[in-house]
Amino acid sequence: MVDHLLWLIAQIQGAIFEAAVQPVLYQLGIMDWSEDVFDGLEFALYGAIAVALAFILFRPLELWRPVERWGERRAVRTDVVYTLVHRLGIVPAIIFLLLTPIGATIDSYLRFKGYIPPRVEQLIPGLTGWPFITFLVYIVLIDLGEYWRHRLQHRLSWWWALHSLHHDQRQMTLWTDDRNHILDDILASVWGGTIALAIGVTPAEFPLVMIAFRLVESLSHTNVRVGFGRFGSVLLVGPQYHRVHHAIDHARPPFARTMGCNFAVILPIWDVIFGTWRRDAAFPRTGVAMLAGPEVRCGYLRHQLEGFRRLGAALAHLADRRRPGFIAAFSRPQPRPQQIRSTVAG
């Protein structure tokens, strides 16, 4: 049945490619891109399926038992744009065009030096011949890498300047997962590419399982009063678990962003192992307390520009540490943080 489903999706992909994409590539004289574009179309198709499934499965949950109700959902619409430009492949295509030549150059140089990226099957004896288990090992290792990337996103002030765009959403929903600055996405790709040089790339033969993991990431941002319980919340990141990570009070003492908690993306075990697990049954409000200005409720492009502004400010502060007075000429009065209730009445 799985094979039939995959074949059906491949037929849709092929039909779109042959009818609408390949003729354009041919006319433009860029048929050497055909295989990359074909793979990109597959990415977009599976992304669309993941988005549709997330909406069908999780939107009813948000209507059924929402943590928060908002009269005005403009900020959510911005996240819908984020989701579509990411999962339908627009932002990934830009990053692919930017980074692929650099990655290939580095990889090619390493080959000249005799280094060929190993595969997990080579590093862990006994995995050969067990493709699905190999695939799961890759997921675990990449999730470990994502945990530490996430830690650094909160730890380094300049990276937090970018990542704070993800956190400044006060209306966190199933659409919020892809709410990231494009520079943050580029850094994520560089991070992933570096890991790939160390352990090889993830096997490609389980696209439906990849969709399942994307659904976990969407579910973890869903505005629903659901937790996975005492044991479940150690096995898989869920809405309540991740909401605690997004809690607005984490942006101020005693839960300053550098302390933070519940950083895991898929597997909470990393938080347990590295001491960042916070067992908390509350459903807090989300957002960043220090960022109470109206700019956090703007559209996609303004939000991206806001990310550049925050990055500039963070870099200026770093420069100011080395040369005191550096930012004096550029600073402007900061709005006073608003007093915000940090939890939602149950």
Binding site: D3, L6, W7, A10, Q11, Q13, G14, F17, E18, Q22, P23, Y26, G29, I30, M31, D32, S34, E35, F38, D39, E42, A104, D107, S108, R111, F112, K113, G114, Y115, I116, P117, R119, P125, G126, T128, G129, W130, P131, G200, V201, P203, A204, E205
Partner: protein, 328 residues
């Protein structure tokens, strides 16, 4: 640019480890060796699925699909006919399968092998790395790298001069064909031959045919200097070649048009155009020569074309992005 083979931990052929024998071989045997009979079997590489499909060529059914390695694109029979060598681009390895039994015999580390080819004298084994702009030239006796050349951009298909002195490689991303001297590992010439060149076929006379994927023709190239001396119009997206065993017929897959042109190998006249929907790529003939099999990259299928009638007999569903094919 090339380096002598004194660099890097390129591993020689290694016998399969006990683990591999226990698990991988079992998985492959489930496909190949338990097929009705190898004489009635076709093998297809599903490059986006990391898998190998086994097809019963009498029932036109996929009888097994098994994991084979990361991104398998092409396969080739070893010169002695004993092995099928499958190139795993992302897996960075060559997998040697015992052709008579279907058993995996060996894994050889290789850098991003995309296309593969043996020189006619079986002295050289050449792989191209489409992604990393590299051509690797191996000693075919022990699969040790002798030369690794930078070859921008997107080196793709491979052909050899009849005297085995030169390898010709299309550079898909720079619209060129390059000729590399196998003894020295140095390029002899690199010249434009048409937009996005793909397949290479060297005629007995020595002239080189190149499938010009960004156009609708095959370019005939002079091996002396690479100059284009003729164009044979086939169909949009001319891609790859297959010569019939008797040497009289040359098949050209046209990826954009979804057709296969049938050429007289001697005169290069196009005698017929066959339907092959779904982005036809690599081709193979059935043992009795009645059918032409072509992988349909865009439709996860293999086209089976009846040559006598010129009709598409059936499409065999396989894994995603089928590329290399071998019919026993």
């Amino acid at each position: 640019m090339h380096l002598p083979f004194s660099y890097g931990p390129i591993r020689p052929i290694q016998a399969a480890s006990p683990w591999r024998r226990l698990f991988v071989v079992a998985a492959l045997l489930a496909g190949l060796a338990s097929a009705p009979a190898l004489g009635k079997t076709a093998v297809v590489l599903n490059s986006d699925d990391d898998s190998l499909s086994v097809i019963d060529t009498e029932t036109y059914k996929e009888t097994a699909r098994t994991h084979i390695g990361r991104q398998p694109h092409h396969l080739i029979m070893s010169p002695d006919g004993q092995n099928l060598i499958i190139a795993m681009a992302e897996g960075n390895e060559l997998v040697f399968i015992d052709r008579p039994t279907g058993e995996i015999k060996q894994h050889v580390e290789a850098s991003d092998p995309y296309q593969v080819g043996f020189s006619p004298d079986a002295k050289w084994f050449v792989t191209t790395s489409l992604r990393l702009d590299r051509i690797d030239i191996y000693n075919a006796a022990d699969y040790q790298v002798v030369f690794r050349l930078a070859a921008p951009k997107m080196p793709s298909h491979i052909g050899f001069s009849p005297d085995s002195g030169t390898v010709y490689v299309t550079l898909q991303g720079s619209d060129r064909l390059t000729a590399v001297d196998l003894a020295t590992g140095k390029p002899k010439w690199t010249v434009p031959v048409g937009p996005q060149p793909a397949g290479v076929f060297v005629r007995p006379s020595g002239t080189i045919l190149v499938g010009v994927m960004g156009a609708d023709y095959v370019a005939e190239v002079d091996p002396k200097d690479g100059s284009v001396i003729g164009r044979i119009h086939t169909d949009r997206g001319a891609h790859n070649f297959l010569l019939s065993p008797d040497g009289k017929t040359l098949y050209v897959s046209n990826r954009v048009a979804g057709t296969i042109s049938v050429l007289d190998a001697e005169t290069l006249a196009v005698n017929k155009t066959l339907p092959a929907p779904g982005g036809p790529d690599d081709m193979a003939l059935s043992p009795n020569g009645d059918e032409l099999w072509a992988t349909g990259r865009w439709r996860a299928s293999v086209d089976v074309i009846e040559l006598a009638s010129g009709n598409l007999k059936t499409k065999v569903p396989v894994g995603r992005s089928p590329h290399g094919i071998f019919v026993y």
